[in-house]
Structures are given as structure tokens and as C-alpha cells.
């Protein structure tokens, strides 16, 4: 793989800092780290783009999207690339401004038209799909990408300046800083021309003194910059300008003017373009002279679609709420290929294991929320109710004996809950007893010449606590972790997360038995959308008998964490119950994830969004849900998928058995 090009020497320090994936030890007081701004940048990006973007390190970005010659990195519509740390500027606020600018620039690619929802452009399923297809039409796609993203950045910058007054200020500040550092001294004429292109498109005059060897191409770029800077410039404009400028850069490259080898290193493509090329046959490179047929056709289609979108402006171009089926989404078919055990894809995704046998048991089909397309995938997931094995019930008795003190305390608290079920209802016009305070107020009012209230009575009402609760346990492989590795605990390394979760189940079950609420215990795991496993540990109506205890004893780590369908199945079980109040408590140890939970297994966003949708579905069915996690990262993601009062991060895993009854008590109140 070719080297990353060196930027003009004065900018080297900044670039080294931005493209580094480590924070290092020489952190100044003015430094701002990604961890500090991660949550707020994710929120800002969501606000500006309207779609959730997953934050990744800038150093992990594809070369096509971000490299040190760029003024601002580009995103791919799903990920937001930010540096691990910025301390280049003297002031902390200025370093934070750079994060804000990078975030806004990448998020604005949605609004500015560089990125598109799937299916909206030429049937492309990737937000950047049309662009990648366009780039692969050139004989040197990497070079074309550099030219295109420079031109399109100019278009986006112009768009942002017009629409966002605050960002206009940020761009002016940043470019001024950047160009003040640029004093020539490029590694070759080609690098000079490429950086000059970025600068010209950003609106900088790019004086010949700084770019002495790139005069011809920069003059052409200057002339073209007006095309993309005009109000209403669209993606097609950027693409057309690219086709006109590309030959100039290619000639410069072929002239061996230095610094351009990385754009012409054989047939090398970075993973983003390679993945696209692997996914779709593009055939031979196409001529851009006089607008080859390939480009004419591609651009013509794009312009037709852009015109249509403009015509439809004001109408909702987003989800229509309809279902789509398996055949509608080629990207999911790719995941299918993996499931079928074919070769792993070029983008680094792991090859799917296929040695898991199909579970035995009753199966159910559930929809899944595809946040990228804003649609439900109908009957997408198959969930099996798998019989939970039986272990040694004595293990549970041992836990009861060991945690006797806690169980007694929880029972005592639950007894108080029963007492709470009787309440006085006040301010009634007729009732069992006179409310002395209301009467007193009424007498005072009457004495004062005011109309006294007639609501002087109160009555004692027994609250009907018709409750049923389902406790759902994440039995993913990660629960096999020793507790010493979780939540900072340094306790017994032989005890695993699943052991503590088992203890929590036992404490809860013992206490709930006494309280009299109807409750059930289930676990879930699975692997892939066709094999979500749902393990009944205790059904509603079953007592805490030896069989149930043996099932609790056999709870063990399994495979993945496809949380959405497990929640949906729990909801359907709760819906069958006649109780007035229904509670769902989910105990997990990390992100919802599965190898095909979304088309990119590295992305957590799909699983989070589906889980969020499943929780909303529960809420719409009047089921109160609560997520309890021992994952400290839960602070970041649970607030995005749960209601503010609907989650808790248990920082010390050993507190789980104590926290679970507290949560139940709170939910039940």
C-alpha cells in the first residue's frame, strides 16, 4: 500500500496530530480529546445530518475519504471521522472548533447532496454509492477521487457558507489558519497541484509564489471553481467538473512531476473503492475525453434524479413506512453470502461461522428496523424458543444460602411494596372520611368570603397491583468474561459475568415469589438473523421449583446479542398476559451486536437503532421497559436508545444482585 502523501511541510505537524490514532503522553492543557467531545459531536452530527453517524478515528478513514492533503475529511454517510486528539491550536476552544468543523462538514454531506439514502440514486444502496461507481469509471480511480473530493468540498463549503452563518465563520477561521501555514515547499509538482486544487476550490487565491509549478492546472481549477460555488450547485456539477479537471492531473502525473506515485501505484485501490469494485462489475476504465458515454449516461441519470428531487422538494423523500422484503436489499444479500460460508469480503469483515446447527424448537418471525433506509424489514429475523438445559439445582440453593442476607433485605423491602398498595385518594366530593385539611381550608375560604371547595372527602383505595414482569438476560459470549475485567472490579477472577447475572436472577426470583407478582425469566443469544435463540428459564405461572432452579443453574454464555428480536418476542409474550401493568427488564453486558446486525459488522449503530425501535414498540404497547447494563460505555449509547428514566449502568458488576431488585421496586412503584 502506498504511503500517505506528505502535506506541505508547515502543515506536517497538524497532519501528524490529526492522523495519529494515539493520544500520546505529551498532551498539553489546550488539548481536546475525542473522548471528551464524542457524545456531543455524535449529537451534533445527528442534528445536522438527520441520520446517526458512528464516530471513528480519522486515522482509520479510507484514503479515498481522508488524507493529509484534504482540508476537511469526507464521511461515507455512516461514519464520522474525527481525530483522536487536537492540540495544535493554542486555545482549547480553538481545538474544539476543529472538531466542530470536521463534524459539521461531514454531516453536511447529507444535506448538501453528496450522500443519499439508499435506493434513491440509481438503485445504489450505499450513501456514497453513486460517487464510488463514478470514480471507478476512471482509469485511475484514486486520482479521480482526489480531484472529485476537492471539487465537491468546494461545492459543500460554498453551500455551508450560505446556509450556516456559524460554520461560515468556522471555515474562514480554519482556512485562514491553514493557508497561513502553507508556504510552499511541496514534495513534488503533483502534490503541489493537488493541494493547490483543494485550496483553490476552498476559495483561496493560491498565489503563484506558493504554487510555482502548478500554474496551468490551478488556472483551470480557478475557472471551474465558479461552477461549484454558484448557489444550487449539485453533485452532478462536482462530477462534471471532475471529468474536466481529471485529464490535466493525469497528464501531470504521467509527466512524472513528482509526488504522485501513490495515485498511480499499479492497480492499487483503497478498501473503500476495492469493496465497491468487488461488489459490482465496472468493466474497463472509461474515457473522460469529450465525456465518454459511460460518464454521459451516469451523469445524465444523476441529473434526472436530482431534477426529480428538486421537483419533489417539500414532499417527504424519506421512508414511506412500507415494508421491504429480503430481495429488495442487495447489501443484505452480501451478509447472506457470508452466512453461507463464502469468502470473506475485502473490507475486513470476518467470515461468518456456519458450524452452528439450526436450533430446535418453535420458531417465530420478527421484523427488524433498518435505520439506514428508515424501514422495517418484514419477517427478517427468525427466533427460536430453545429449551434451556438443566444444571444442578443445588447451585441455586448454594446462591440462596450465600446471599441469604441480601435476599432477606429485598424481601423486607418488597413487603413494604405490598403495604404501599393501599392509598388515600383525596379531594373527592363524596368519600369514606372527611379530609381534615381540606375542611380547614374550606372553612378559611368561607370565613374570607370566598367560595369554599366542595372536595372535602377522601377514601381509602386498595391499588390493584395487577403486574407481570419479564426479566430478559443477555447470554452472549461476552458474559464469559471474568468479573475482574469488568467495571473496574478486581474481585475473584474465577467468577464470570454470567455467574453474577445468575445470582441476580436468583435473588430476584426468591423475592418475587414472596411478593406474588407474576414473573418470568428468559435468556437470549443466537448467531445471525436466522438463528436468534430465546431460552425460557421460568415461564409465567411456574413456581420456583427444582426444574426452574436447574434451568437457572444451567445459564451459560452462548453467542451473539441480537437484542431487537429478543425484545420483540418478550413483548409478544407480555402482551398475551392479562395484567394491567407489564414490565420488561433487560440485563446486558454490552452493545447489541451480531455478525449480520446491519450490513457492516463493525458498526454498532444498526443494532442500537433496532433495539431502540424495539423498545419504542414495547412502549407503544404499554409495556414499561428498563435496560440494566454493566457496560460502562452504556452511559453513551443507552441514553440514545432508552428513555432517560429507562436505563441504569451498574458500574460494579458485583452490585448487580442488589441493583436489580431496586430497579424492579422503582418500576413497580
Amino acid at each position: 500500500m502506498p504511503d500517505i502523501p506528505a502535506a506541505p511541510c508547515s502543515l506536517t505537524g497538524l497532519n501528524r496530530e490529526l492522523y495519529s490514532d494515539v493520544q500520546g503522553s505529551d498532551v498539553g492543557a489546550q488539548a481536546v480529546t475525542l473522548e471528551e467531545v464524542r457524545t456531543s459531536m455524535a449529537g451534533m452530527a445527528l442534528g445536522l445530518a438527520g441520520v446517526p453517524l458512528e464516530i471513528q478515528l480519522l486515522s482509520e478513514a479510507s484514503f479515498t475519504l481522508a488524507n493529509p492533503l484534504r482540508l476537511c475529511p469526507s464521511g461515507d454517510g455512516r461514519r464520522l471521522f474525527l481525530p483522536a486528539r487536537v492540540q495544535f491550536f493554542q486555545e482549547r476552544e480553538e481545538n474544539r472548533r476543529l472538531y466542530r468543523l470536521y463534524t459539521a462538514f461531514q454531516a453536511a454531506q447529507w444535506e448538501g447532496g453528496t450522500l443519499h439514502r439508499s435506493g434513491k440514486r440509481n438503485g445504489e444502496s450505499e450513501p456514497l454509492g453513486w460517487t464510488l461507481k463514478f470514480l471507478l469509471g476512471f482509469s485511475r480511480p484514486m486520482l479521480a477521487a482526489e480531484v472529485f473530493f476537492a471539487v465537491d468540498a468546494g461545492r459543500l463549503g460554498s453551500f455551508l457558507r450560505k446556509r450556516y452563518g456559524g460554520l461560515r465563520e468556522e471555515l474562514d477561521w480554519f482556512y485562514e489558519c491553514l493557508f497561513s501555514l502553507c508556504g510552499g515547499d511541496f514534495t513534488g509538482a503533483f502534490t503541489e497541484a493537488v493541494f493547490g486544487l483543494h485550496a483553490v476550490m476552498a476559495g483561496w487565491p493560491a498565489p503563484p509564489a506558493v504554487f510555482p509549478d502548478a500554474g496551468e492546472v490551478l488556472a483551470a481549477a480557478r475557472a471551474e471553481s465558479a461552477t461549484v460555488a454558484k448557489p444550487g450547485a449539485r453533485l452532478a456539477d462536482s462530477a462534471r467538473v471532475t471529468t474536466r479537471l481529471y485529464p490535466l492531473f493525469e497528464r501531470l502525473l504521467l509527466a512524472g512531476s513528482g509526488g504522485g506515485g501513490r495515485y498511480d501505484a499499479g492497480n492499487w485501490l483503497d478498501p473503500l473503492l476495492a469493496k465497491k469494485q468487488g461488489g459490482e462489475t465496472t468493466g474497463e476504465p472509461h474515457s473522460v475525453e469529450e465525456g465518454g458515454d459511460f460518464f454521459q449516461e451516469l451523469l445524465g441519470d444523476l441529473e434526472d434524479l436530482e431534477n426529480l428531487e428538486m421537483f419533489q422538494a417539500g414532499e417527504d423523500l424519506e421512508a414511506d413506512g412500507s415494508f421491504i422484503t429480503d430481495t429488495d436489499l442487495p447489501k443484505f444479500a452480501q451478509a447472506e453470502e457470508e452466512a453461507a460460508g463464502r469468502e470473506p469480503r475485502r473490507d475486513g469483515r470476518m467470515k461468518a461461522r456456519t458450524d452452528f446447527p439450526e436450533p430446535e424448537g418453535k420458531s417465530f418471525r420478527y421484523q427488524e428496523w433498518n435505520y439506514l433506509d428508515k424501514r422495517y424489514l418484514k419477517d427478517w429475523v427468525r427466533l427460536f424458543e430453545v429449551e434451556q438445559g438443566e444444571g444442578d439445582a443445588a447451585l441455586v440453593d448454594g446462591i440462596v444460602a450465600e446471599r441469604r442476607e441480601l435476599i432477606d433485605e429485598v424481601r423486607r423491602q418488597f413487603r413494604l411494596l405490598r403495604a404501599d398498595s393501599v392509598a388515600w385518594r383525596k379531594k373527592l366530593e363524596a368519600g369514606d372520611e372527611v379530609d381534615i385539611w381540606e375542611l380547614l381550608n374550606a372553612l378559611v375560604d368561607r370565613k374570607a368570603g370566598l367560595y369554599p371547595s366542595a372536595k372535602l372527602f377522601m377514601e381509602r383505595r386498595v391499588r390493584e397491583r395487577d403486574i407481570c414482569a419479564l426479566i430478559l438476560l443477555d447470554m452472549s459470549a461476552s458474559t464469559d468474561t471474568a468479573v475482574g475485567g469488568v467495571g473496574g472490579d478486581t474481585g475473584d477472577p474465577r467468577r464470570k459475568v454470567i455467574d453474577i447475572a445468575r445470582e441476580a436472577l436468583v435473588v430476584m426470583a426468591e423475592a418475587l415469589e414472596q411478593l406474588g407478582d407474576s414473573y418470568a425469566l428468559f435468556g437470549f443469544s443466537g448467531y445471525g438473523r436466522h438463528n436468534v435463540e430465546y431460552y425460557p428459564i421460568k415461564f409465567f405461572g411456574e413456581s420456583l421449583n427444582t426444574t426452574v432452579k436447574s434451568r437457572i443453574a444451567s445459564v451459560e454464555p452462548k453467542k451473539s446479542t441480537r437484542m431487537g428480536p429478543a425484545i420483540r418476542h418478550s413483548v409478544s409474550l407480555l402482551e398475551r398476559r392479562g395484567a394491567r401493568e407489564k414490565l420488561l427488564v433487560i440485563i446486558s453486558d454490552g452493545y447489541p451486536q451480531d455478525f449480520d446486525y446491519g450490513d457492516d459488522r463493525r458498526s454498532k449503530e444498526y443494532g442500537l437503532q433496532d433495539t431502540r425501535a424495539a423498545l419504542r414498540e414495547a412502549e407503544a404497547r404499554n409495556i414499561k421497559s428498563f435496560c440494566l447494563t454493566i457496560d460502562l460505555a452504556g452511559y453513551d449509547y443507552l441514553k440514545r436508545i432508552c428513555r432517560p428514566s429507562g436505563y441504569l449502568v451498574v458500574e460494579d458488576i458485583l452490585d448487580l444482585p442488589e441493583e436489580l431488585p431496586k430497579i424492579y421496586k422503582r418500576l413497580r412503584a
Binding site: 467531545v37 457524545t39 456531543s40 459531536m41 455524535a42 449529537g43 451534533m44 445527528l46 442534528g47 445536522l48 445530518a49 438527520g50 446517526p52 466542530r100 463534524t103 459539521a104 446556509r163 450556516y164 452563518g165 456559524g166 460554520l167 461560515r168 465563520e169 468556522e170 417539500g314 379531594k427 373527592l428 366530593e429 368561607r446 367560595y451 369554599p452 366542595a454 372536595k455 431502540r612 419504542r616 412502549e619 407503544a620 404499554n622 441514553k639 440514545r640 428513555r643 432517560p644
Partner: protein
């Protein structure tokens, strides 16, 4: 201030109507639907988030219907903010002691039914169920109000019209409004207006320049993208108007957004930071 106080009026329920046209910018066909429902005397249910214009719409329609009914002013509009202690007597009326006498005093609903007013029961789901069922005979073909204490039934005035509202964003709403109540009403869904319309509303209501109003509307639309991702409800048009009013008085736009939107909509520090960054993207540091 003193002169303002001297202009304050104390009005009977049935005397509260609009003499001037309240400002309302239609977003869809809601005006047309309301008028058709009014002609057929079919009660209406407004659903929508807080601060999106439900109350202003009923005020506007009360004025408009008054003109249609040949009045020089709007129809009387009686608004009841529902709450959990609201009883049937609070709506229908009660006997009160006046000197040595027991005197019957109509509640706001009975006044509306008797005098022919628009009755707007705001946030109906907050009322107890036994109170809510009281409106059932008024909300179907019977159009009558049973007055149990008097042993009478009050037939509705021809101009009586019932409108209820609630915000489905609140979790309790869906489960608390009985189906027997829901299914007596036509429902109009309200949402925040599209940015161009919202900008027009903000400019009119706050008096800010169109450019600032457009920026505030853009800000509102971006903040609403965070709903369901840690934000319970988006920035309402009402809050954006407040921001506009602050800006008009010379407060820096970023600070105005902080006070009128960022802090009110959430208590979460990271959410504040995210919305603040959005506001910094839209508004320059100083004007």
C-alpha cells in the same frame, strides 16, 4: 405597567372572545377540516407536540367561526386546562353558599353548552377517567350534558362545539385516553411547521428579521432530529419565538438559544453540548 394594569379586564367565561383576528398560519388543510367538522357539529381531537400551535389554532378558528356566524367578534372560547383533580363538578357546576342561600353555579362546560361557545379541553388525558366520560353524551349525536345534581339534562346550544387536545409524546397519553372517548372525535394531527412556514411564524410573532427567523427555524428543525436519541421532545415553535424575542431585545443569538431552547428542552449536559454546537454552526459568534 400601571397603564397596562388599568387595561386588564375580568370577563365571564362566555364573554371571552376575540375581537381581532389572531395570527395563525395554516400548515395543511386544518382550517378546512375544522370548518367542515363545525358545520356537521362533529367534535374534534387535536394531537400534537407541545408548542406547535394547537391553542393558537383554536383561537383563530373561534374568531373565524364567529365571523361566519354573523357576529362582529369571534365565537366565545372557553378553555379548560385539564388536571388530575378535575372533577365532574368542576366542569358541570355545583351548588355554592351565597349568604344563607345555596346557589347553583354552572361550570365552564355547562356554560359553553348553554350559551353556545367553543369549549376547548386542553390536555384531556390529564383528567380522571370518570371525568372524561362526562363529555361522551356531548360528543355524539345526543349533544347533551347530564346534570346529575340538578336532575336535568342540558341540550347543547346549536353553536356549542367541543374540542379536546393532547400530546401523544407523553407516555401516559396513549394508554390513558379511553377508546370510547377517542372514537367520538375526528382527529387532526399537528406537528411543527416546515422550516419556511415556521420562519414566517417566528418573524411575525417575535418581530425579528426574516434572516434571523429563518436561522431559528433551521435551528429548530436540526434540534428535532435529536428527538428519540436522548431528547424527549424537540424545540417547540413557541420556544423559537421566545428566542426571537430575546434576539430582538439585543441578546446574542447563541445566548438566546441557550436560554430559550437548550436549557429548557433537556437537563443532560452532553445533550446541551450537542445542541450548543448546532447553534454555533448556525449563528455566527456576534452580529
Amino acid at each position: 405597567m400601571a397603564s397596562q394594569e388599568s387595561e386588564q379586564r375580568e370577563l365571564l367565561f362566555e364573554e371571552y372572545f376575540f375581537e381581532e383576528e389572531p395570527y395563525y398560519l395554516p400548515v395543511g388543510d386544518e382550517v378546512e377540516i375544522f370548518e367542515v367538522a363545525w358545520k356537521a357539529r362533529l367534535p374534534l381531537l387535536f394531537k400534537g407536540p407541545t408548542g406547535c400551535g394547537k391553542t393558537r389554532f383554536i383561537e383563530y378558528m373561534s374568531w373565524r367561526l364567529g365571523r361566519d356566524a354573523g357576529r362582529e367578534t369571534g365565537m366565545p372560547l372557553i378553555t379548560v386546562a385539564c388536571h388530575e383533580d378535575l372533577t365532574a363538578s368542576d366542569l358541570v357546576g355545583r351548588y355554592l353558599l351565597r349568604g344563607e342561600e345555596m346557589v347553583w353555579v354552572d361550570g365552564p362546560l355547562a356554560i359553553a353548552v348553554r350559551k353556545g361557545a367553543l369549549c376547548y379541553l386542553d390536555e384531556i388525558v390529564e383528567a380522571r377517567k370518570e371525568t372524561t366520560v362526562l363529555i361522551h353524551p356531548l360528543a355524539d349525536h345526543r349533544r347533551m350534558l347530564p346534570m346529575e345534581r340538578l336532575g336535568k339534562v342540558l341540550e347543547a346550544h346549536p353553536y356549542f362545539f367541543l374540542v379536546i387536545s393532547y400530546n401523544p409524546g407523553y407516555q401516559s397519553a396513549l394508554k390513558d385516553l379511553k377508546h370510547s372517548t377517542r372514537q367520538r372525535f375526528l382527529a387532526i394531527d399537528f406537528d411543527y411547521p416546515p422550516p419556511e412556514r415556521e420562519a414566517e411564524i417566528i418573524a411575525h410573532e417575535s418581530g425579528v428579521a426574516p434572516q434571523i427567523a429563518a436561522e431559528l427555524a433551521l435551528f429548530g428543525s436540526k434540534v428535532r432530529n435529536l428527538v428519540g436519541h436522548g431528547l424527549e421532545e424537540g424545540a417547540s415553535t413557541r420556544l423559537l419565538i421566545y428566542a426571537g424575542q430575546l434576539i430582538l431585545e439585543g441578546i446574542d443569538p447563541r445566548r438566546a438559544c441557550e436560554i430559550s431552547v437548550i436549557s429548557p428542552v433537556s437537563d443532560d449536559a452532553s445533550m446541551h453540548a450537542a445542541i450548543r454546537d448546532i447553534s454555533h454552526s448556525i449563528f455566527p459568534s456576534a452580529r
